[in-house]
Symmetry: C2
Subunit: 205 residues, 2 copies
């Protein structure tokens, strides 16, 4: 069976990706970075999602000599000119947690009225071979920032991101609904349509 | 029929790419930049083949709203620590021509003995959608720099680049042989295995 290493230690992200690939019927064994302790901390030195996703995938692919999937994603808030963007996970500074990031964002938007609370999750996903060939896809999920958290699924900013059409936060959706609508789901759906041919291409050399 | 815009005004390159895609049996109409005069000069602002190939493809894809193929390629000479690299086409400065570039390189290597004249052509090829999804592949052609030009096919450094196995310069090969062995041929062969699925992916959105 083909093996795919996902360049993440985020268990929520790994679980989402595994579920989506299996639902697509791809016979691929998905392994997270926790299975490869020799890979230390993976840096995210870029200023864009694209740079970070490519950097992470290349970093792991070159060290392991395997095909690697990475993503870099975050929340872009209209009223903050696209921030926190690539700094989404580190938004509340040293020792940032999901809770603190959400609290900081809600506080910054406290006086912003509902019709100006537009935001989007953006995901850049990269499938990378040790030889330096790769595929990059993007996914966007438009929505709005809530005034308080709700829902206990998902991770990151999910509790305060409202999907307008469904009228609920990302954290309130079951995983299947979320994966069908989310930025990561869309980027992964696209990349998955090229995955089998990508594996074949790499094996042929 | 699918349409593919190749981000080049180089007729030699366009002809090679057309021939290779048709030989692969891909039913794609290939169009060069000369058919789109609204696209002015396409900048190559990068310091790597990768940056330039992505930049060119994005530049054209965003302006035309079409799927674009670009390549950036050049010659990396061992004795010159990989130069001229991304500056291959501009190696002899203002008003550079293939002849001047070849003459300059031969002059610089005048005292370098045969066993130290190793070099490689490198090609980075990018298939880019207007939405920002893309595929990137690489191809390398190892060889050696001749002491004088020979052959009248090809373009660029082909007259002074010797394919060791064939014992002749790239400019002395028929196009089919060259395309089977060259850096561009290898990168294009790889990218072509993903091309049909890429078009389908873009059309599904």
């Amino acid at each position: 069976m083909q093996e795919l290493v996902v360049a993440t230690r985020n268990k929520g992200k790994l679980k989402e990706i595994k579920q989506m690939l299996h639902k697509r019927g791809l016979e691929i064994e998905v392994r997270g970075l926790e299975e490869f302790p020799s890979i230390g901390e993976v840096p995210e030195p870029g200023e864009t999602f694209e740079e970070n996703a490519i950097f992470k995938a290349r970093f792991v692919a070159q060290r392991l000599g395997r095909i690697v999937l990475s993503d870099d994603s975050g929340l872009e808030v209209d009223a903050l000119n696209g921030r926190p963007g690539v700094y989404s996970a580190r938004f509340s500074g040293e020792g940032a947690t999901d809770e603190r990031n959400n609290a900081k964002l809600l506080e910054m938007l406290r006086s912003v009225p509902p019709h100006k609370r537009g935001a989007q999750f953006r995901c850049v996903m990269v499938l990378y071979s040790p030889e330096g060939d790769y595929v990059l896809t993007q996914g966007i999920w438009r929505g709005r920032i809530a005034t308080e958290p709700s829902g206990d699924g998902g991770f990151g900013y999910d509790p305060i991101f409202i999907d307008e059409e469904k009228g609920m936060t990302a954290a309130s959706m079951d995983m299947e609904t979320k994966n069908r609508r989310s930025h990561r789901g869309r980027a992964l759906l696209k990349i998955s349509t090229l995955m089998e041919n990508f594996f074949a291409m790499v094996q042929k050399g």
